[in-house]
């Protein structure tokens, strides 16, 4: 029964006026995040935030722990996502017309030029950040149990990121794009170097198949463009988003960021600034969703100094997000994304260079297409993926350059890495390589003996020495990873700045001369 003076009309009027506050309350159930309880519900009541743990260890909030590189990568991805979607309003993936549409974006689309610049710079920032993030995870030995799988996912993210950047390279359909992709596609074809040498290409042409699937045709043309477009705007971003979700989820499920054993004692001083800081021991001995036996990875690790993620973690995350945005926008403000002449299949660029992060590979490719394009990269990729399963030691987890050898070993590895790569390159540039000395030498020998493989052998030898000296796999991994990183830097710099027309060595691009 209704009350006597009930008026449905009045009730309706009241409800109408209360719509904003009701909608707000329906969206954010817990009320303002002012107490510990509401702060927690702010996080687990929100689909976007609940990947975060409700509380964050103070160690994780230290700038030196991660340098925010993961968030930089994520932020750069979000920026490319937003600007990329905007660019899709005007981009038309068809040869020549694609180039015209980029010109339109440059000249008449409102904010178009700025968006394209930001997209381009954010893409580069993302590649740099993802590599640095990997190096951080490696040097702090964060890949160890129970985080092996997440390292694996991160490895997938690295490859997907490079793929995204590479596929985006073709879309403007200018000379730079066209010839970089032509080279990239021929690298995909390079297993032929092996199958040719073995004389089995006619039965098993893996290289040709890879190239054909990538290009959809025998040359870079409209089919290739639409394939690269599909990869760039659909397949790879979806893959990346999925892997990112898993990656974030696993951070939480693996017990937060890796910490040294004495992390709690080391943050005790900082903890005094905060209120409240929990020092209880994590005690959840079951998994969610049902009472399933088994402990989460943080259990049994003793009392911890944690603070509410809301707002402390979020300030850090938002700060890094905005810093990344600032960097991307600032770079976009200073420098326009390049656009060269319309792609011309008849006039090759000289030199035709791949995207900068592949120039190290292109440098090795100039000696052997297979080793540079497939062999050594595969070795690196497989080696990276297997690190957590080979290094199952405990010492130094969560510490920069942790583990046997430490910073001293890394320092010496840098010396070896830089010196050997510079020396081998200098030798090859000055004196040539096997083909120059013995013109009739079989290709198979060059495939296996070239500056790239020689460097790999030096690095391997040095790391074996480190394993034996420190009697530790981690020491070997530190040496090998550092050497490869230094080699990557040296080769990339040489490929970028010191290689000119016909891939000849030049001290400076101003010496390239006319065409």
């Amino acid at each position: 029964m209704q009350a006597e003076n009930y008026s449905a009309l009045h009730e309706f009027w009241t409800n109408l006026r209360a719509i904003p506050s009701h909608v707000y309350r329906a969206m954010f159930r817990g009320g303002p995040p002012k107490t510990d309880r509401t702060r927690s519900s702010f996080i687990f009541g929100n689909v976007f935030l609940h990947l975060h743990s409700v509380r964050t260890h103070l160690w994780s909030l230290r700038w030196s722990t991660t340098m925010g590189l993961g968030i930089v990568t994520t932020a750069a991805f979000l920026i490319t996502l937003v600007t990329g979607i905007l660019l899709m309003f005007y981009y038309k993936p068809y040869p020549d017309i694609a180039y015209q549409s980029i010109k339109d974006i440059h000249f008449i689309v409102p904010t178009g030029r700025f968006m394209r610049n930001i997209h381009r710079w954010a893409a580069n920032v993302m590649v740099v950040a993802v590599i640095l993030h990997m190096a951080r995870a490696f040097y702090t030995a964060s890949y160890r149990k129970p985080r092996e799988f997440n390292w694996f996912i991160g490895w997938g993210l690295l490859v997907t990121t490079l793929g995204l950047s590479f596929t985006g390279y073709l879309l403007p359909w200018d000379q730079l794009a066209y010839w970089a992709i032509t080279i990239g596609a021929n690298i995909a074809q390079s297993p032929r170097e092996i199958t040719d040498a073995m004389g089995i290409t006619q039965w098993m042409d893996i290289g040709g198949l890879q190239r054909e699937i990538l290009l959809g045709s025998d040359k870079v043309g409209e089919e290739a463009l639409i394939r690269f477009y599909l990869l760039h705007v659909m397949i790879l971003p979806l893959t990346l988003a999925m892997l990112m979700a898993v990656h974030f989820w696993r951070i939480r499920k693996d017990g937060g960021l890796a910490k040294p054993k004495d992390a709690d004692e080391r943050v005790a001083e900082e903890a005094k600034e905060f209120y409240p800081v929990f020092t209880d021991s994590p005690a959840k001995t079951y998994h969610l969703a049902a009472v399933v036996k088994g402990k989460t990875s943080a259990v049994d690790s003793g009392p911890e100094h944690t603070v509410p993620s809301m707002p402390h973690l979020f300030y850090a995350e938002l700060g890094v997000l905005m810093l990344t945005t600032l960097i991307c926008i600032g770079l976009a403000f200073i420098s326009d994304a390049p656009l060269k002449e319309l792609a011309n299949p008849l006039v090759p660029e000289n030199p035709a260079k791949a995207p900068w992060y592949f120039l190290g590979l292109q440098e090795i490719v100039s000696f052997s297409a297979f080793m540079g394009g497939i062999g050594i990269p595969m070795l690196c990729v497989i080696g990276l993926g297997l690190i957590p399963f080979l290094d199952r030691e405990k010492e130094g987890t969560g510490e920069w350059f942790g583990g046997p050898g430490g910073w001293k070993l890394v320092k010496w590895s840098m010396v070896v890495g830089f010196a050997s790569s510079i020396l081998v390159e200098a030798f090859a540039i000055k004196f040539g390589w096997l083909r120059e000395w013995f013109p009739d030498i079989p290709q198979l020998i060059i495939t296996f003996v070239n500056p790239g493989t020689v460097l790999t052998a030096i690095y391997a030898a040095f790391s074996i020495w480190a394993v034996r000296k420190y009697n530790s796999t981690r020491a070997g991994a530190l040496a090998l990873f550092t050497c490869f990183l230094c080699g990557f830097i040296v080769l990339t710099v040489i490929g970028t700045y010191f290689r000119g027309p016909n891939w000849d060595f030049f001290w400076s691009p101003s010496d390239w001369g006319g065409h």
Partner: protein, 553 residues
């Protein structure tokens, strides 16, 4: 943990400032904003917005009219703003075909440097105003162009006969006729008469009309016209296509014998490069290391004409010693050698005739053919030439030569050329000369040589008798110095050349060896001389027998 808050705040403020700066520069600081803000029409200020000319058939999207706003479709700017001025009246409506078809440049751009195309990575910068007429060559191919003196003469004839009294031509004449004190009248505009075609019987129609009228321009400005003047007028009218400068440039090209070495379209020699698209080179692909001046295609071409070998390393092209005016005309012509893929709708008649029906781009009378093709090697007067480092080219108007060489010999020589030597088989190659053209050419050569006709020769082609071995010795001693071992040619012509030996008569050879060629290094070997051996008739015949034996090999 306040440092994270500071990080967030400082970064956010930075982002805000950069975004605001970008917004201001994009929405208010572009050059065209300023130009459109100061442009005014009679009805007041104009809308400040992007403007463009779009023609999907020509694949044109030209935003030039964003700054040159007076040329935009439907705009009438009355202001002293030079950049926004209205386009002067031209044949083609700029608001229909756009700007870049004629002027080059980057139509899509909205900023000056980019739009004018003087930036890296834009292959087709704007044509300099000086060479603007070169752009007509994008679509048009002027046909039947004579050489420059003939064209000049024809133009003067047109002026002398007072055709301007009634007819307009390139904006002059008709009621606006220049100079004259007699009022003119409005006759048909002849600016494009060469493209449109005209009544071949115009002269008799004019004459009839003139006889009917009693006064006015028909009486004062028209009277009987002589045969040669009518021929000159025909030449002049045939070349009128609205691009006088381009026709003049092409006439210059047809005066210097360029086609003897260079092909344009489907006709020309192959000693030099094919010039067909040489007006379309990408300046970024050219080597400017030894080229003084600005890095533009036109400057490159100018410097190349001044000194070919120092502009293009290894170029065989001789220094021609051209005047500045000649260089300008040739540069304009070279720049006009450009092409754009046109839809059928826009294909002009002259281009169809040149491309599909093989119409000649030069007038096919003997004189123009000689100046357009032969004069670079054989000289403007047929005196022969010699460029440093290249073989000498023989004189063909020498009276001694012309009196011995029959028309048949000359025709056959022009037709088959000299295989292996610079002289090409001009009658036997693709799109080569027709027999009629060669006859006209031979007649002109005789005219150049003072109308010397060949002495009739009743002998058979081969009649000389002698000893081959003796002839060989004599040849080595006396002739090989200039004509090369076994007659392969040196400074003198290649006498062992099969095409030559197949064609030449013994009478010609005996006469030439015996009497020589006056004015050249070839002396008469039968003439008495204190410094050189005198050959007897039998010795000369032996040399000829030896030469004939070379043909058998």
């Amino acid at each position: 943990m306040n440092k994270n808050k500071y990080l967030l705040m400082v970064s956010s403020i930075g982002v805000f400032i950069l975004l605001a700066a970008a917004a201001v520069s994009e929405n208010f600081l572009k050059d065209w904003h300023g130009i459109q803000n100061s442009a005014k029409t009679n009805e007041g200020p104009i809308d400040v917005r992007l403007r463009q000319i779009v023609n999907p058939n020509l694949k044109v999207t030209d935003r030039c009219v964003t700054c040159h706003v007076g040329m935009a479709s439907g705009e009438q700017i009355s202001t002293d703003l030079k950049v926004g001025a209205v386009h002067k009246p031209v044949v083609h409506n700029p608001t229909e075909i756009g700007c870049t078809v004629c002027h080059g440049g980057q139509g899509q751009a909205t900023e000056k440097d980019d739009a004018h195309g003087n930036v890296h990575f834009w292959t087709e910068p704007m044509l300099p105003a000086k060479y603007a007429y070169a752009s007509c060559g994008t679509c048009h191919t002027p046909l039947n162009v004579p050489n420059l003196p003939t064209l000049e003469n024809a133009r003067k004839t047109f002026e002398r006969l007072d055709c301007y009294a009634c007819h307009r031509l390139d904006g002059k004449g008709g009621t606006l006729r220049p100079g004259g004190n007699v009022t003119g009248m409005e006759g048909p505009d002849l600016s494009h008469i060469g493209l449109k075609g005209y009544n071949a019987e115009w002269y008799s129609a004019h004459l009839q009309r003139s006889q009917q009228e009693t006064n006015g321009a028909w009486k004062t400005s028209f009277s009987e016209i002589s045969e040669p003047d009518r021929a000159a007028l025909k030449i002049f009218l045939d070349t009128q296509m609205g691009a006088p400068k381009l026709v003049e440039a092409k006439a210059q090209f047809n005066t210097l014998g360029c086609a003897g070495c260079h092909a344009v379209g489907n006709f020309g020699g192959d000693a030099g490069i094919n010039l067909s698209l040489s007006g379309f080179k990408d300046p970024n692909q050219l080597n400017f290391t030894r080229v003084p001046g600005e890095h533009t295609l036109s400057n490159w071409i100018v410097q190349h004409f001044r000194s070919p070998a120092s502009t293009v390393a290894g170029s065989q092209m001789p220094v021609l010693g051209l005047t500045d005016n000649q260089i300008d005309l040739l540069t304009l012509y070279t720049l006009s050698l450009r092409r754009r893929t046109l839809p059928d709708l826009y294909l002009p008649k002259d281009r169809v005739r040149a491309m599909r029906f093989g119409a000649r781009e030069f007038a096919n009378n003997g004189e123009t053919i000689y100046t357009a093709v032969c004069s670079s090697c054989h000289g403007a007067n047929g005196q022969g030439t010699r460029f440093p480092g290249l073989v000498a080219n023989p004189s063909i108007t020498n009276p001694d030569f012309l009196s011995l060489a029959s028309d048949e010999f000359l025709i056959q020589t022009i037709r088959s050329g000299r295989p292996g030597r610079p002289m090409l088989p001009w009658g036997e190659r693709e799109n080569g000369f027709t027999l009629d053209e060669i006859r006209g050419l031979v007649a002109y050569i005789r005219q150049l040589g003072g109308n010397v006709q060949a002495t009739p020769d009743t002998q058979p082609q081969i009649w000389a008798k002698g000893d081959t071995a003796l002839g060989a010795n004599l040849f080595t001693e006396n002739c090989a110095g200039c004509h090369g071992k076994n007659g392969v040619g040196g400074d003198g012509p290649a006498l062992g050349n099969k095409a030559f030996l197949t064609n030449v008569t013994d009478t010609f050879l005996v006469g030439t060896i015996g009497r020589g060629r006056q004015g050249t290094v070839m002396q008469g070997f039968a003439n008495p001389s204190p410094i050189r051996k005198v050959l007897t008739q039998a010795e000369i015949e032996s040399i000829i027998v030896y030469l004939r034996s070379l043909n058998a090999k």
